[in-house]
């Protein structure tokens, strides 16, 4: 019995050693499906990226492109009908994709935590905000509520809310303060990696800027690695070292933020950037990308973006392009990039 267990563990361990020198998080060929009545929704397909300690990475793309699913797959917080089909999530040399629920509960919050989408909904309206932030501390560090509350007050200082508001209910806090509270909750157990799932959505621009600045400051102070999920490219440009653009469950372009913004290669990325007004240049009409993303139950055989692409060629409809490195560390999934190389 133990022998078989050891056997099963051996390759895992080897792989762990092999990647030990690499980044804090390495996602390889991650594929996640959702089971629906009509078939499997292929929400995330072969997504790969990696993250060095202290680095921040932005996952961007339109609604439904799989960026949140990819992040939830890292933490294995998928809904009941979701499952990781294949791929590895290597965190500090451990493969999270193969971990049990129990094993994950030891990782969540203590090492990886998440800032949930929509701070209003992620806070219990009838429980004091401070107490909710104390919950992970009580659970993961076995402290009493009173002791955890002391920690919560420090966290409030850290994220810039008055300590006196710890006993306020969520509705007594403003939107920005609720988001700060969510950030405090994510930081409660000193994680190494924080995933921000659209942390600034539904906030006005001023507060958005404050929250982003806060995240940036905390990241430097606490030496956090950070994954920012956003549909807002400007937010990503401002805060992230690296960027990953997703479309229809796949990574279409990845590289440093500079790569992506200064040398956008994939037509989708280019159109996305065009869709934002540029304040430094002449005013132009902001263009939108026409058409809809493909049905992910039966994804097209060729390039997923092909029907909406303005530079498509005949082979786009049939051939699925692979990732091509156009410059050092800058990968693009496009037939034009393939030809260029």
């Amino acid at each position: 019995m133990s022998a078989t267990k050891a056997k099963a563990k051996a390759p895992e361990k080897k792989r762990a050693e092999r990647i030990a020198h690499k980044g804090i998080l390495e996602v390889r060929e991650l594929t996640t499906y959702f089971k629906l009545g009509v078939g499997d929704v292929k929400a995330v397909q072969n997504v790969s990226f990696d993250l060095e300690p202290g680095e921040s990475l932005g996952l961007a793309g339109e609604s439904g492109c799989g960026k949140t699913t990819a992040a939830l797959s890292i933490l294995k917080l998928l809904p009941e009908n979701g499952r990781i089909v294949s791929g590895d999530v290597l965190f500090d040399g451990r493969n999270l994709a193969k971990r049990t629920e129990y094993g994950m509960s030891k990782i969540r919050w203590k090492e990886i935590s998440i800032i949930f989408q929509g701070a209003m909904n992620a806070l219990n309206p009838v429980r004091e905000t401070g107490k909710q932030i104390a919950e992970p501390i009580q659970l993961h560090e076995g402290l009493s509520e009173a002791k955890a509350m002391v920690r919560v007050k420090e966290l409030y200082d850290l994220v810039g809310i008055s300590q006196k508001r710890v006993m306020d209910f969520p509705h007594q806090l403003s939107g920005g303060m609720r988001q700060r509270a969510m950030i405090a909750m994510a930081l409660a157990c000193n994680p190494k990696l924080v995933i921000g799932d659209e942390p600034t959505t539904a906030l006005d621009v001023m507060v958005q800027a404050q929250i982003l600045e806060l995240i940036e400051r905390l990241r430097k102070e606490l030496e956090l690695s950070f994954i920012l999920i956003s549909h807002d490219l400007s937010v990503m440009a401002e805060t992230c070292d690296k960027g990953v653009i997703m479309y229809a469950g796949e990574v279409v372009e990845s590289g440093t933020t500079a790569n992506i913004f200064n040398n956008a290669t994939h037509p989708y990325t280019r159109l996305l950037i065009k869709a934002f007004p540029n304040i430094h240049e002449k005013r132009e009409m902001v263009s939108s990308i026409k058409g809809d993303p493909p049905n992910l139950v039966n994804p097209p055989a060729g390039c997923g973006f092909c029907p909406r692409c303005d530079v498509r060629i005949a082979s786009c409809e049939t051939e699925h392009p692979g990732m091509v490195e156009v410059e050092a560390g800058h990968f693009v999934r496009c037939v034009h990039a393939e030809k260029g190389v």
Binding site: A146, G160, I161
Partner: protein
């Protein structure tokens, strides 16, 4: 040092608890003429007041056990646990005395025991333990006092709630003070009411201005007023306890059924349906007959048969709550099902539970009335239902002897109405979503404190060193510069922080 508000709190509730206990346990057979002197005489007498010995043994085990557990867990409040153990010892001694002592111990014996003295000792120890608890767990105690004050502050702004509370207080006082309002001897089957000249008033004498004849006499010439006042005790106790049992059962089963989907939930729901389709009245009658006529029976019968409605309502609300995002968040954190049910689901369905509790209290009082009216009540203890039963059986309605029917009838209506009012008001208090936002604002506190903002600001400087005071600022939205350490600049002006500002002495005035 001990902040004064804990001390006031303990000093207020200890005597109140003592008085309520004493009044509840006041012996029925002390003639009214002896009044309060009976309390003093009975203080050291071996005969007055009564608890069965097993209740006291249970008390001893519970209190001493809690104390020992607390010590074993190295709780911060050491003194509190020591007092608890002391209390357990007192209970044990009391049980020994009540159980018969030297002549052989008996669990059912309940006449001797120096009860007044013992009760006082226990209540004083209880107050002391509360004090030690408050000083041992300052954060918790502060929260408790804060909650109490907040709830009351919000509650008293609601006129319906205050009217309901007013009605209820009248009836509760009447029930508690029954031994001082009427002689229990008047309920004796042979105690017919006489007028000033010593003449019997006779059956169905209409009301006069003479005190015991305010509500006239019944079919054998006894005082209806005396029956009415003593009945209020049974009616209220049965209603409250039955509703409590029913709500605890219903809420527990409802939350479990709603929270666990799948087969576990189904089992709970089918059980609920089973009890729901059973015809209530025949079931209650059969149970009451089997268990024998006593008011404890009625409590159990009403409590055990009226929960399915609550369970269904609570389940439907739990189904809504469990899909909310913060439940998912709590799971992500790693909270257990038990924790999520207790800390997240329960508070969210609490308003509904309370709204339901109130309905159930009303229903329980009516159920008790129904069962008693049908003659299944406690023949030794009058309730309003029993009164109506005797009135009906003896043809009071035909005469019509309205003075025999109307007092219990109107009392039932008023009490049910009072509970409904209180429920509506409490619903509003308990559901933070129904509150106004400025409840945490600064203006109301200044107004309540009766001080000018400048004074309060000065106080803040002493208390917390909180910095800038911006008049009229309601929220902390305007965050000036969060890259600075957050201590003072966005602190709120009032030093009380989240402690209700209307409390006379905030912590800066703590120990004078």
């Amino acid at each position: 040092m001990i902040p004064r508000r804990y001390r006031n709190w303990v000093l207020f509730w200890t005597p109140v608890t003592w008085i309520v206990l004493e009044l509840l346990m006041y012996p029925k057979d002390v003639p009214l003429s002896e009044g309060l002197s009976a309390v003093l005489n009975g203080f050291f007498s071996a005969r007055i007041g009564a608890y069965p010995a097993w209740v006291l043994v249970l008390g001893a085990i519970l209190t001493a056990g809690l104390g020992i557990l607390g010590l074993a867990r190295k709780s911060k409040a050491r003194a509190f646990n020591l007092v608890l153990i002391d209390m357990g010892v007192v209970f044990a001694v009391w049980a020994f005395l009540a159980g018969g002592g030297a002549s052989g111990w008996s669990a059912g014996e309940n006449v001797i025991g120096y009860s007044w003295l013992m009760q006082t000792v226990v209540v004083v120890l209880g107050g002391l333990s509360a004090w030690f608890w408050a000083t041992g767990n300052p954060e918790r105690a502060e929260l408790t006092t804060w909650n109490t004050h907040q709830v009351w502050r919000l509650y008293r702004a609601n006129w319906q709630g205050m009217v309901g509370l007013g009605i209820l207080v009248v009836f509760v006082l009447m029930a508690l003070l029954a031994p001082f309002l009427t002689d229990h001897a008047l309920l004796d089957p042979n105690a017919q009411l006489k007028d000033a000249g010593g003449q019997l008033l006779g059956p169905y004498h209409p009301p006069t201005l003479s005190y015991y004849n305010w509500f006239g006499t019944d079919q054998v010439g006894q005082s209806v007023l005396a029956q009415f006042i003593w009945s209020s005790r049974i009616s209220l106790i049965v209603g409250l306890l039955a509703a409590f049992i029913s709500t605890v059962l219903g809420a527990g089963i409802g939350i479990a059924a709603g929270f666990y989907g799948g087969w576990q939930g189904e089992i709970w729901m089918r059980l609920t349906d089973f009890f729901l389709v059973l015809p209530w009245l025949p079931l209650a009658m059969i149970l009451a007959l089997l268990l024998g006529p006593s008011y404890v029976t009625i409590i159990l019968v009403v409590g055990l048969t009226s929960w399915p409605g609550t369970a269904r309502v609570i389940r439907s609300d739990t189904l809504r709550v469990r899909e909310l995002q913060f439940i998912e968040r709590a799971r992500a954190i790693g909270s257990s099902n038990w924790h999520i049910m207790r800390r997240h689901v329960l508070p969210n369905v609490m308003p509904l539970i309370f709204a339901n509790l109130v309905l159930v209290v009303a229903i329980a009082i009516l159920s008790e009335t129904t069962l008693s009216f049908l003659g299944l009540g406690d023949p030794l203890n009058f309730s309003w239902g029993t009164m109506l039963h005797y009135a009906w059986v003896n043809g009071a309605a035909g005469l019509p002897a309205w003075w025999y029917i109307m007092p219990p009838g109107i009392a039932i209506i008023l009490v049910v109405l009072a509970f409904t009012f209180i429920g509506t008001a409490y619903d509003e208090v308990l559901d933070p979503k129904l509150r106004k936002r400025e409840d945490s604002g600064t203006e109301s506190r200044f107004a309540a404190r009766g001080a000018t903002p400048a004074v309060a600001m000065g106080g803040a400087g002493v208390g917390g060193g909180a910095g800038i005071f911006t008049p009229g600022r309601q929220t902390d939205d305007a965050m000036p510069d969060f890259n600075k350490p957050a201590g003072g600049s966005i602190g709120r002006p009032e030093s009380g922080g989240w402690v209700g500002g209307h409390i006379e002495d905030d912590e800066e005035g703590g120990e004078g």
